[in-house]
């Protein structure tokens, strides 16, 4: 079977984007240069076609109750018009996906999920619906999605949508067929704009005319890694719990009941996710992490050259019983052990509001 193409595919070809297969889709990986695209987002404004991502809509009297039951985070803490990030876990606490929930109201909740997990998430959620008075619909084929990211995002969107409100980070609003969410995967200020295919194609062209830099999956990955956002398939997987990926803050054990609560209540931890920076050498996914004695203690889950810092950066999963007391972590790159610096916060601080 050939890969899916987003409705913006022809736009990418017009821009001579390099196209790669990703999660069953043919997606633009870069347009000009990864470096220029990262810099555009950090300093100015860039846009990503992320139409491959999935959208679900939950409606009905029990919508809030249902969504709060299947997620580990507490969406009752969100007011109407707010968004919340949460893992979706199994009874045993392992992660099915990570997603963003947009709460329009208690009886109307929009969910954005990873492209690679759309079918898995939808069938899981469907299987948990019984007993709840609400409807779950997979709207993924109805929406295209552009993430506009960078400090000049609001300015440029406002020039197209003159009545766009300056909503807070992790807020959402509907305008006609558009959904404007002040969220993203870069750490910068930005909006993710969901809309009909035709309207999103038009928006892409308008943004291009206004000088917004088209950016591909490669720069998106560098940007998210610089601000230490986890990626499903790398830091998160069917094998680990939120505690194994430094996402303990997304597990609200005070909630009355939710799937995975029993397994997650003792706060089981198998791994520690650490942030490592290198003066020399570039870490890559799968490279071993060793301690001062050269013993393998973990693995790099995501690694790249940071464009913003000009240094190698990595998120690494360390066996919890092998975390060295001296904080000495080295990364094995082609059988040579490169020293690292353990970073406490994130490698780069984004400018989101």
């Amino acid at each position: 079977m050939s890969n899916f193409k987003t409705r913006l595919y022809d736009e990418h070809l017009k821009l001579n984007a390099k196209i790669v297969p990703f999660a069953g889709w043919d997606m633009p990986v870069q347009y000009t240069s990864v470096k220029d695209e990262v810099i555009a987002v950090r300093q100015n404004v860039g846009m990503f076609d992320v139409s491959h991502m999935g959208e679900f809509l939950v409606t009905g009297p029990d919508a809030l109750k249902f969504v709060n039951y299947i997620l580990t985070n507490d969406i009752t803490l969100a007011e109407n018009g707010k968004a919340i990030y949460s893992p979706l876990c199994r009874e045993d606490g392992t992660i099915i996906d990570d997603l963003i929930v947009y709460k329009f109201s208690d009886d109307r909740i929009f969910i954005c999920v990873n492209a690679s997990n759309i079918d898995k998430d939808f069938s899981w959620m469907q299987s948990k619906l019984s007993g709840f008075n609400c409807e779950l619909v997979n709207k993924s084929h109805e929406y295209s999605l552009i993430a506009v990211q960078g400090p000049k995002t609001f300015e440029v969107l406002k020039s197209i949508f003159t009545d766009l409100e300056d909503i807070e980070y992790y807020s959402v609003l509907e305008k006609g067929n558009f959904i404007f969410a002040r969220t993203g995967y870069t750490g910068e200020d930005g909006f993710e704009v969901f809309g009909t295919h035709e309207e999103i194609i038009k928006l892409w062209q308008q943004l291009l005319e206004k000088g917004v830099a088209p950016c591909g999956l490669a720069s998106r990955d560098v940007l998210r890694l610089e601000v230490c956002f986890p990626l499903y398939g790398n830091e998160l997987s069917d094998e680990v719990t939120p505690y194994d990926a430094s996402l303990g803050w997304t597990v609200k054990l005070a909630k009355e009941n939710f799937i995975g609560k029993e397994a997650l209540s003792p706060k089981p931890v198998k791994y520690k996710l650490v942030k490592l920076m290198l003066e020399k050498g570039i870490p890559r996914d799968g490279y071993p992490v060793v301690n001062g004695s050269g013993e393998v203690i973990g693995v790099v889950t995501s690694g790249t050259m940071s464009v913003t810092l000009g240094k190698g950066i990595a998120l690494a999963r360390i066996d919890i019983d092998k975390v060295p007391a001296d904080d000495v972590f080295l990364i094995d790159i082609r059988n040579k052990h490169y020293p690292t610096t353990l970073i406490k916060k994130s490698f780069v601080t984004g400018g989101h509001k």
Partner: protein
């Protein structure tokens, strides 16, 4: 895709260029290779004195998102490496043919027959992409 392929050089299917002067070969990566890799940020090549065998790897070139092995185009001994280039590997992006990696003193000149001419290399690039 860039197709700058100088006539005076020889090429390999691993997208390396070779300048032959007597029994000395100067080696770099082609314009096609630098363009496919994107922003080059790291380079690792062997020190002078290292013995190289045809077809084995002799180093790596890394872009922001990828790692590519460098393959020995001709057997011999490294007589010089372009140490300056390791500090500024992005030069390869701006001038692939002006950015040599290593110089090899050849131990088996019959291997020269394996190299591609500029036109053969151009055909190879067109057929593989």
């Amino acid at each position: 895709m860039a197709t700058n392929i100088p006539e005076n050089l020889k090429y390999t299917k691993e997208h390396e260029w070779v300048l032959i002067e007597g029994d000395i070969a100067t080696v770099g990566i082609t314009d096609f290779a630098q363009s496919a890799l994107g922003d080059i940020v790291f380079l690792e090549t062997p020190e002078a004195g290292t013995t190289l065998t045809l077809g084995e790897t002799f180093g790596v070139v890394e872009s922001i998102k990828s790692v590519s092995d460098l393959y020995v185009p001709l057997s011999g001994e490294v007589i010089e490496k372009n140490a300056d280039l390791e500090g500024s590997p992005e030069q390869i992006n701006s001038d692939a043919y002006g950015s040599w990696l290593i110089k090899i003193k050849l131990s088996n000149t019959s291997e020269l027959n394996n190299l591609l001419s500029a036109s053969d290399y151009e055909n190879f690039c067109n057929s593989s992409h």
